[in-house]
């Protein structure tokens, strides 16, 4: 697994600049363009804090999710369909578990790095209210795993990259719009609110908001963590099954 992670890290040395753009500059622009701009119109803030401060932790979690899904969709698909990297690795003395976990570890690394960068900017803008904010790195790692593992499974099972675009536009985008990033999920009508509770992003949002604002989360921390871990475990199992099916013939 170490050697596989190393392989991905070497590739990252070449591409980190362009990935920094999408995983760091864009959320920063969102913070300025949306958080600051709209925040000026939200009188009295949300739940007792200014809108920008309230939104930033949500944006951190949602960025972590986007990086994790982005890095486990096209790259995984490409490694099967285009560059055949996994097949080359499978020909080396590596187990399927090593190939899968090595790449997953890289995705988590990427997620944590971009979360860290964003966290720094958030601190510079004075939106962090508590020292607990550093725990968002761990939260991002867990949330990243929870969304990356099922995405690995999905990307390994489809044969046209159109289905990846569908995952983005019908899965990821709606999730980031309705998981309490921009407005509280409590404002959603009944059924939709439960959909938001069921999806992983809200749990990450609620945790990281509690961490940066220094308040208690809506659910007990263990509840959130166990729920995200359950997503990660189920997703890992799905991904492993698909990887085995493709690589062990």
């Amino acid at each position: 697994m170490r050697s596989v992670l190393e392989y991905h890290l070497v590739g990252y040395r070449r591409t980190w600049r362009s990935s920094a753009l999408s995983s760091f500059v864009l959320p920063l622009l969102t913070m300025l363009g949306f958080g600051l701009g709209v925040g000026a119109y939200v009188d009295g803030g949300v739940q007792g804090v200014p809108y920008l401060d309230w939104m930033v932790p949500g944006l951190i979690a949602s960025t972590a999710m986007q990086v994790a899904i982005g890095d486990s969709s096209w790259p995984v698909f490409g490694n099967f369909e285009w560059m055949k990297v996994y097949f080359a690795q499978a020909a080396a003395p590596l187990r399927v578990v090593d190939i899968l976990d090595g790449h997953l570890a890289f995705v988590v690394f990427r997620t944590v790095v971009s979360t860290g960068a964003f966290l720094g900017v958030a601190a510079a803008f004075g939106t962090l209210h508590s020292g607990w904010a550093v725990t968002t790195l761990g939260i991002a790692a867990l949330l990243g795993l929870a969304v990356a593992t099922p995405t690995f499974g999905y990307a390994a099972s489809v044969h046209s990259d159109s289905y990846l675009a569908i995952l983005f536009r019908l899965g990821m985008v709606p999730m980031s719009l309705f998981s309490g990033v921009f407005f509280p999920v409590e404002a959603l009508p009944g059924v939709l609110r439960w959909v938001a509770y069921a999806l992983p992003l809200w749990h990450g949002v609620d945790l990281s908001r509690a961490a940066t604002l220094g308040t208690a989360p809506a659910w007990p921390v263990t509840g959130h963590v166990l729920y995200l871990a359950a997503w990660a475990a189920a997703g890992w199992w799905l991904a492993y099954r698909q990887f085995r099916r493709r690589l062990v013939v």
Binding site: Y41, A165, R169, L177, F178, F182, A187
Partner: protein, 269 residues
């Protein structure tokens, strides 16, 4: 402007038919996955409208326009969503897909061996993007009317405005993609697109921006598009909107001319 430029580029009989054949080819590729992508095109702007317009709107409350009128936040944001979705629809078809077809599928190499000329391929691809984009815009406007965010009459006018926005960005997209070197360049493009989306008076009136930023924003094509559609759906369009229309027509004509010329040079070496 269009009447000046187009005849010189497309001065051969049957150009319309040949561009139409390009549209037919694209229609023939519609498969199950593609339909889902189209469905996403329909619902994406609606999702944004619900999330930002309604969800965040509940936090914002009413918004006072520069001219003193007070409107609901969703009413303010909806036309900007329409403009932004017309932009991104036109851009995705004319940049990402266009580039893939040109460089990787080598699709156009085969077509150029037929009587079809580069500019006719460009026009055909643009027409296809417009057909799709206009379907999305129509659906979104129906949602707006149903939610009482505009009137039916204004929606009809806004439909044509959205089509114009699509043409303008389709022209830009095609011109830009002839400059693209690799997929990496698309990261830059989508970042630029996202920046436009955030700072084009989409979520707050442009008057709120610091003066320098505001004047930069005023000349961007998305801001002019938002201005045009918003004036129509909110009521109160005037002479400034005539300027918007002329500006977008000019952008379209320049984009198409550049695209046609550069395609000719790149494909017919």
């Amino acid at each position: 402007m269009i009447t000046l430029v187009l005849p010189r580029l497309v001065s051969f009989e049957g150009a319309g038919r040949r561009s139409g054949a390009m549209v037919e080819r694209n229609a023939a590729t519609l498969r199950s996955a593609y339909w889902l992508v189209m469905l996403a095109g329909f619902i994406e702007p609606v999702l944004y409208l619900f999330s930002i317009g309604i969800g965040v709107g509940a936090l914002v409350g009413d918004l006072t326009l520069p001219d003193g009128r007070v409107v609901e936040y969703a009413t303010f944001v909806a036309p900007a969503m329409l403009a932004a979705s017309a932009m991104s629809g036109a851009l995705s078809e004319t940049t990402f897909n266009f580039f893939g077809k040109m460089k990787f599928m080598r699709l156009y190499d085969g077509i150029l061996a037929t009587p079809v000329r580069p500019i006719e391929i460009a026009l055909g691809e643009l027409a296809w993007a417009m057909i799709r984009g206009n379907l999305y815009a129509a659906a979104f406007l129906v949602v707006m009317v149903v939610m009482d965010l505009t009137t039916a009459g204004a929606a009809v006018l806004a439909f044509f405005a959205a089509a114009l926005v699509g043409f303008a960005f389709g022209g830009i997209g095609m011109a830009v993609s002839t400059f693209m070197r690799s997929w990496q360049d698309f990261d830059l493009l989508s970042s630029a697109q996202f920046a436009l989306f955030l700072f084009s008076g989409t979520f707050v009136p442009a008057q709120d921006y610091p003066p320098v930023l505001r004047w930069v924003v005023e000349v961007t094509p998305l801001y002019r598009s938002v201005d045009l559609i918003r004036s129509i759906t909110l009521g109160g369009a005037g002479w400034v909107q005539v300027l918007d229309v002329l500006y977008l027509l000019a952008v379209f004509a320049v984009g198409l001319t550049v695209a046609g010329r550069r395609m000719e040079r790149q494909l017919c070496k």
